[in-house]
Symmetry: C2
Subunit: 394 residues, 2 copies
């Protein structure tokens, strides 16, 4: 592949290469948990105390743009990757002088700015919701007249989990939205009457091989992902191939290495790209227990230059349920077959993602299986039971 | 259950209980990797430098019988467990004054002495090979005359992986065996013409619930396990129940909590107990990728007082292949579907266990599945392919 550096060396001493990760949250944590069995070692750059990656590698406590911290992070590393898309592009470029940085810094530049991101999608022939850049109250008015209401005003940078957004249901809401967000670089997005939200996760290796995971159906509540389900109902080959083709255009354009997630709106048979995350993604957590290779392992395989693993569903399907706010009743949950707990060692706060649960199809009724696996219906019944337990609280 | 202490507290702050582990080898490593997603934290006592548990918890570097090290290990721990059966019983009893120790120290006492172990099996009505204690050359002679040749002379304590053993094929070998092992407490075991070696792994919770994994077929080479396979061919319900009943007698007798492995000889429809390991066991490593709940997770669930997980085979079957001596060709192995790498971060030395591979049934031919899973035949073909890659070396 053009510009692809040679694979990271896999030393013959049996000890694996060091992977440096910018960020020390749950995604870094789950990468380390997936990577240690591959013989990989980890180092993290994270300004916060007691991050989820504690005791999963060396943690350098420094801001993400601290030159000394960055230099310490990359020292001796075979490869650098990151677990969030707001890594300063300058920091990524500094790191890239000492070791390969995957995904490439160009992916950060695209993902960090909603306007650049949507323009890039369009340039690649990928549909999006209609949008307009907004930098003044006047431009907001023009954009609203062009796109109509309802519409969503968003900051171009640093939005996540529904933050930095204001819905404009009718023209009269425009002043309030402007008061809330004005003064920053903004984008107005036209409202799309979509049928549902999907995401496509794909991984691209150093050799250019691309593998896509099955389309995931996502449910949000107040801008935060609460449930991801595979297989998404009614996905035919055409839809899957459409999603694959879409994500492959981005991967190829960026000479990408690693896992890329693209959030999609489905409108009939059309897929519109909403936004992308150049990293492992919450809607891919089901792969830990429900796919032949987890997104975390495949991301690491890609960035260190190992062959990619199979991305199909293992079993009949899976659902991921985010744990938000309060700690779950572990005992009750662990008693349910097919339930896999993934906690992050984060102190609970209202609305905070402190873990997730993967529900997978399980063997028959007995405590030790084997028997037949779940049907789609019995898997959904199992998922609903977990949701009841979670809703009942501790 | 009689004597069972209440479950370890699961704090409401979202941070899980601290599990203290005596030993810092690959079994402790894999426990930590399985336990971190459950929100458990780990501390290890290990005298060696750079053990496999490095950066998976706090490591206290001290001998296993060091009082200060033991006190530091148990300080604030919700529960203590261990990853090898030669933990000094005195050390276990010291730890038990500060926190529950599971499996119970009585299990260590039984497993550390081949004579006590076999006598205990017999007292529980469990068949074993014929045996005699030997503490002098004269007793060896008497034992050989009683049991006949071939027979195996073994040290009663501290044997593993075929070490501390001498085969006596005929009477003339007795002097050589005595020269090699004499002076220690010994046991002579009569030779059993067994059909094959199996093992049964079971887990018992704090509430007394017992779950057994399917019987595993084991292949050894020069006393070292090289392959474990599930399902073992031709195992019917009667054999599985016989094994379960056997292991359950030991579990109940010891008021056991955690995973227990018993190595068995199959002779026709009979099962003879060879030896037991009061811990997670090499012949249970397939459960990481081939069972609904791994032995590591179930051991931890048991010792912290969580409900046990299902123990059935996930998919059609699995094989575990030990990696001995030289590092494998990760790239070639990772390219094979259904191959799961588990490396231990150990410096390779001839014959040393540096990792293992689990081969599981995988989705159809395509890179992203799904398709039908392997048949038993195609799974075995997949396993043979991995063996060829391993035999070909790096």
């Amino acid at each position: 592949m053009t510009g692809a550096p040679p694979p990271a060396p896999l030393p013959s001493d049996g000890l694996g290469p060091l992977v440096a990760i910018v960020g020390g949250g749950q995604l870094g944590r789950m990468m380390a948990l997936a990577g240690r069995p591959l013989g990989l070692r980890f180092r993290f750059l994270e300004p916060k105390e007691n991050p989820p990656v504690t005791e999963l590698g060396t943690v350098i406590q420094a801001p993400y743009d601290d030159p000394e911290g960055l230099d310490a992070l990359v020292d001796g590393a075979a490869v650098v990757t990151y677990e969030f898309e707001n890594v300063p592009v300058e920091a990524a470029r500094r790191l890239a002088r000492s070791a390969p940085v995957f995904p490439p810094p160009a992916a950060l530049a695209m993902a960090q700015d909603r306007l650049v991101e949507k323009e890039s999608f369009r340039e690649l022939g990928i549909d999006t919701a209609p949008f307009r850049p907004v930098s003044s109250r006047g431009e907001l008015q023009e954009a609203l007249e062009a796109l109509g209401t309802p519409a969503v005003l968003k900051t171009r940078r640093f939005g996540y989990d529904g933050k930095g957004q204001a819905v404009i249901r009718e023209m009269g809401d425009a002043d309030g939205a402007w008061d809330e967000l004005g003064g920053r670089s903004l984008i107005l997005e036209g409202f799309v009457e979509f049928d549902r939200e999907l995401s496509i996760l794909a991984v691209r290796g150093r050799d250019g091989e691309v593998r896509d995971y099955p389309l995931v159906e996502n449910q949000h509540s107040e801008g935060i992902l609460v449930r991801s389900t595979v297989p998404a109902s009614g996905v035919d080959e055409e839809l899957q191939w459409g999603a694959r083709e879409l994500v492959e255009r981005v991967l190829t354009k960026l000479d990408y290495v690693g896992v890329l997630a693209v959030e999609l709106f489905q409108v009939g048979h059309r897929l519109l790209a909403n936004e992308m995350a150049p990293r492992v993604h919450n809607s891919g957590h089901w792969t830990q227990d429900g796919a032949w290779t987890s997104q975390f392992e495949n991301h690491l395989r890609a960035v260190v230059g190992l062959p990619l693993g199979p991305t199909g569903i293992r079993g009949r399907g899976a659902a991921m349920l985010n744990l938000l706010g309060s700690p779950p009743d572990r005992g009750t949950l662990a008693a349910l077959p097919g339930v896999c707990l993934h906690l992050y060692d984060k102190t609970p706060r209202p609305g905070r993602k402190i873990g997730h649960i993967n529900v997978v199809s399980a063997g028959g009724a007995g405590p030790d299986g084997p028997g037949e696996e779940d049907s789609p219906e019995s898997l959904e019944a199992r998922i609903q039971e977990v949701i009841r337990v979670l809703d009942a609280g501790v």
